[in-house]
Symmetry: C2
Subunit: 320 residues, 2 copies
Amino acid sequence: MKGFIGVDWGGTSLKIGLLDSKFSLKLKRTIPTKEIARKEDFLSVFPKAIFSLIKEAGINNEDIKGLGIGAPGVIDVRKGYIYLLPNVKGWENVPLKRLLEKRLPFNVYIDNDANLYALAESKLGAGKNFNNLLCLTLGTGVGGGLILNKKLHRAQNLSNCEAGHICVELEGRTCSCGAKGCIETFVGNKYLVNFYLENTQNRFTPIVRRLMKSEKELTPQILYKAALLGDKLSQRVFGRLANALGVYIAGIVNLLGLEAVIIGGGVVGAWRLISEDIKKIVKKYTMPPFNRKVKVLKAKLRKNAGILGAGILAKEGMGV
Amino acid sequence: MKGFIGVDWGGTSLKIGLLDSKFSLKLKRTIPTKEIARKEDFLSVFPKAIFSLIKEAGINNEDIKGLGIGAPGVIDVRKGYIYLLPNVKGWENVPLKRLLEKRLPFNVYIDNDANLYALAESKLGAGKNFNNLLCLTLGTGVGGGLILNKKLHRAQNLSNCEAGHICVELEGRTCSCGAKGCIETFVGNKYLVNFYLENTQNRFTPIVRRLMKSEKELTPQILYKAALLGDKLSQRVFGRLANALGVYIAGIVNLLGLEAVIIGGGVVGAWRLISEDIKKIVKKYTMPPFNRKVKVLKAKLRKNAGILGAGILAKEGMGV
């Protein structure tokens, strides 16, 4: 077997996948993120894990045609250089590609994780039939990747698509970035919970109170269940999300002439509650002729999307 | 001389320019737009004007290497097909490239006027040193063209970049497109005037009253003069514009990693009043690392920008 290695560097675990040339996952291995949080540890632990994976698969180093990494930060993709990882200290200005290629016998490529998620969805998931799309991952924050005319958009060779920090309400709530009314303040997990709690003065409505009996912390998942059970305020939380997200998507479609927007991440758990509203608003506020064609779709790939995207990057390098 | 013909199809006049291979304007001719508003008139008047221009220049048909047209509407650029011109009736679904190439002995290319304005600024104007930029024309409405990695972005081969219809205020004023709080409702001429008049209950503040003595109609130009003379409400009109425009630009830079945003059109008349505020807000709300480099610039090309952009299209075809 000849193939690629795709690496998904997440908040809790770093997942390594061995993929064949058709991106079928052959073998997977997981390292707790905290074990490789320090750069020195990464450089000793990671190559060992790769060699051990290859050995376990019963193949040779030469069978691996490239290794791709999706990292949670800003990356110069051409250089394979990490500018910063906002949530991991000590990773400012790290030439990771160069450091790893000294230790591994194949080409290494690095890009932002949301970019590679978009790449995976566009090549193997919900975006296969579209040339121009935005892929959003909605959860704690907002991740985004843009495919324009079939290629991942990277300006200045950088990985970053800060899709969460686009204002939809000039005098809206303050965002973690310091600006007001970013789309993240309408769809990010903590903002959903905060909107609910502000409206109840930190108490629970009856349905939520019942659901909270077996829970430690109020989450969007609980609000989603409460909304389905008829809790009016929880329904408003998701109605507000759907409205803002629809208006935001219509604006980006107007700017770029996108054919599709794919939504993934935790918020997809509430798809049944929000998708019709989002689609209706996108249709209404997108300009002709794009309003006739534009699609809003749920992401198709699940937990291995990051590995697959990194594998595609490993195969195609900067050409994707 | 060998060269190109660039055509700028504006609201009051259609301008035809003969350009040499270095895009220097050699000869110019103007046709009132109303004389060619009907399709039949266009197809008889326009080719005659082209042949007469060539004759006047003392060159031959073979010296013309291509003709480009910037039209105010939605165009399939690959086919040279006009879907619609929002402000001119009877131009729905017109295969203009095909119709003109039957009547003219050279290749004809057609694109949206704002796209060609962006192309001209990026190749010959304020955008020469940037690979990724947005060029906005702010006047009656908002026109936009995006250059991404040195090429004009066209999704689905269509010309349209509806940059004016991006929401920055969910519950803002109603826009001509039917949505609420589009950036156009903060920067379009009539919205500037309306904002002023709403705040005075349709009266004039003293400074504006004085300026209106020799005028028929309140315009953004008068408000600009009043603002410079110390009229507080006129200053608020432009303060509101600068704030919304800055926030809007920061969002698009965050999404696309742009290096520059170029602003042209009538609003540039108030550059002295708005530019510092816009730049400050863009810097503040753009995410790292893009905030370090992003530039907000005034357009450089003046009245012939449309002709120049159309000439570049004529030379390079779809390759631009």
